[in-house]
Amino acid sequence: MKGLYISPSPHRTDNISTAKIMLTVIIALLPAAAAGCVFFGPRAAAVLAVCVISCIVFEALCRIVMKKPQTISDLSAIVTGLLLGMNLPATVPFYIPVIGSFIAIVIVKQLFGGIGQNFANPAITARIVLMLSFTPQMSVWVKPYWYSGTLDAVTGATPLAEKWLYYTENGVNYKMAPFTLSEMFWGETGGCIGETCAAMLILGGLFLIITKVISAATPVAFIGSFALLTFIYTGSLNETVYGVLAGGLLIGAFFMATDYATTPVTAKGKVVFGIGCGVITFIIRTFGSFPEGVSFSILLMNLLTPYIDRLTAAVPFGAKKSSKN
């Protein structure tokens, strides 16, 4: 008889790994990314590719320089790259996604210890840095199918930046949205590559919930609290639905506010996190100087995550509350 392996129990593990989880997230992101490529053309696909490749390269280089085990096989760098690319306009010069990947992978993720150790969402932080550093390049919004060459004007505005049309007819005041809800739902509007197609983002989000990669609590609390506040403020169901479908709300709620490393692990904490994001997004969009507030809301809530986890931890089964020592 050969030697026996000795290990502490349990001797069985669930058929799951970090790479499998990341692969599931990638699959969930692909429909929305593909929709972005259809609307914004080969240029969008190229931006996504540059992001993904540079994220992988930066991750690999970091691990080599830091003399740590290689981690590109956990696929998390691909998720970061994909998310970053989906949060950029299709027309950005290619050095911007490279700089963004550097910020996301090197500064936000690896300098804090790599996967699971970063306190801020890498893709969101990179997007915010790029937005503030390269504001002109980051605010060019092309119209869907601009690459087909049949449009009169190539650039337009995003659903959030575009002015609503006010007019009076027969003494009644009307307010018209720049895009129809159908256009908003299918994503035929200006915007970042991966944020416009609500249908595919919801599809991907539901896939993650069904495969139990994410909990429904965060997106429901995020979207729900934002929608509730918007409805109370505007009194219009139409404007509420428009607000939910517009900008980065859905990609943020399903894919960024559910990032493991930077959001709470407790069930209650996920709800608190979602509500916090929804409230901050509403405040920035309604009263702030930026048209969009999803990125800032998630980043701000990322900073509160350790406190939320601590304050929302369940009382262990049978624990005596009084015995603090």
Binding site: T13, I16, T18, T71, G116, V265, F317, G318
Partner: protein, 427 residues
């Protein structure tokens, strides 16, 4: 009533219909003097002594212990040092069998008439909890009813570990012994109610026990959902009675006595024939078992290698005492079957998966039946932060292993909980 968390495991209970076969006495048995939670026994025999089946060969004055008996007739060839799986060393009697299996003349049917005589008889039987923990049964039955009155006997037949079917076979083959044991304990310890708890993946046992107890008002069959760790003491008490065993408490503090189903029927059999605990049913199974997977009544002290040979499992890389979730690894296949082994499982692959970084997915938090936070316990353990470990209540951990099981990074969280517990100052 809040549902407790847990995990759903593949049951792998393919030996459920394997009737118990009697495993022949081996040429040599090794009987450790420490086979229960508590103090080891002092060996009563020496090298060269002849022993009979059922002869007491180890005993102690310490209350928290149970005597050990010879499972064979033969000659003591050695009193050896034996390294227990928990790392401590005790003496073990090595007995060469003579093949006669002569019964010890001292064996007599005990006179059980009241609480005191029942507890005394159970002590003499050498009975310990057969479910895995090996708690001396007479200590458990010896609760003080004036301080901790008990109104419910919870009989644990959940058998929530994969592969193991030995308790299931006990119910299917010895249903009358199970009921007899329950009634015996209820009668002498004045326990009005009994909950016989069975997981819903054992419909035949539920049906049989329901039929057999139809006319017995004091026994209630509790059908529990198949979710690991349903059979853990705190979990089964909560599932069966809704009572919460708080930090530092024993089930008797909540008026509950928890006993494994095979222990209960073992007590009954001893009350009828006076033969102490010298053999036990084990499930032999696992991916390395190529033939004869099944249930066997094995003399205590039988080298596990004999069972592996019988099951053609010599290629195993990992052999366990007990189930895959909480079982202990054997370091040597010559280690013997002991009282609290409900299974010998042999697996083809023994390597543990490679550990990667924690991604804070929170699966361990969602899986923990006791609502602990294993990922935070790991951080506190790495920081040697004892105050934080206390705040996180790591002392409550029962090592069910759910956290390690669900971890996508394959972090040894259950192991770290154990190490973290050891870091706490002893009271």
């Amino acid at each position: 009533m809040n549902k407790l968390n847990g995990v759903h495991l593949r049951h792998n209970k393919k030996t459920r219909n394997c009737e118990t076969k009697i495993f022949p006495p081996p040429k040599k048995v090794t009987i450790p003097m420490s086979q229960s939670m508590g103090a080891p026994c002092i060996c009563l025999v020496g090298k060269g002594d002849h022993v009979d089946v059922g002869q007491k060969i180890g005993d102690t004055d310490v209350f928290m212990s149970a005597p050990v008996h010879s499972s064979v007739s033969g000659t003591v060839t050695e009193i050896a040092d034996y390294l227990l799986p928990n790392g401590s060393v005790c003496k073990a009697a090595v007995i060469e069998t003579d093949g006669q299996q002569t019964m010890c003349p001292d064996i007599s049917v005990p006179q059980i008439t009241d609480r005191k005589s029942l507890i005394a008889a159970v002590r003499e039987s050498g009975m310990t909890g057969l479910g895995g923990a090996g708690f001396p049964t007479h200590v458990k039955l010896g609760f003080d009813p004036s301080k901790t009155p008990v109104d419910t006997l919870v009989v644990n037949a959940a058998e929530c570990e994969p592969y193991i079917t030995s308790d299931y076979r006990e119910m299917m083959e010895c249903a009358d012994d199970v009921i007899g044991g329950i009634l015996l304990i209820q009668k002498h310890l004045n326990i009005p109610m009994c909950k016989l708890c069975i997981e819903d993946n054992k419909p035949d046992a539920i049906k049989l026990m329901t039929e057999k107890t139809a006319d017995i008002k004091s026994i209630d069959i509790a059908v529990l959902p198949s979710q690991y760790p349903q059979g853990a003491e705190k979990v089964i008490v909560y599932s069966a009675t809704g009572r919460i065993i708080a930090e530092g408490e024993l089930p008797v503090n909540q008026g509950v006595l928890v006993m494994n189903v095979s222990t209960v029927s073992g007590v009954y059999r001893y009350s009828k024939d006076g033969i102490p605990l010298i053999n036990r049913r084990i499930t032999a199974d696992g991916t390395a078992v190529t033939k004869n997977a099944g249930n066997y009544l094995v003399p205590i002290g039988t080298p596990v290698s004999e069972i592996l040979a019988y099951c053609s499992a010599e290629d195993a890389e990992k052999v366990l005492y007990g189930g895959p979730m909480m079982g202990l690894c054997l370091y040597d296949t010559d280690q013997p079957v002991v009282k609290n082994n409900n299974a010998i499982l042999a697996f083809k692959h023994g390597k543990v998966p490679e550990t990667t970084a924690c991604i804070r997915c929170g699966r361990c938090v969602a899986a923990c039946p006791l609502r602990l936070m294993p990922l935070m316990i790991e951080s506190a353990y790495n920081a040697k932060d004892v105050a934080e470990l206390k705040r996180l209540k790591v002392s409550l951990c029962m090592n069910c292993g759910c956290c390690s099981y669900v971890c996508p990074a394959h972090r040894p969280l259950a192991e770290i909980n154990r190490l973290a517990k050891a870091m706490l100052p002893r009271k």
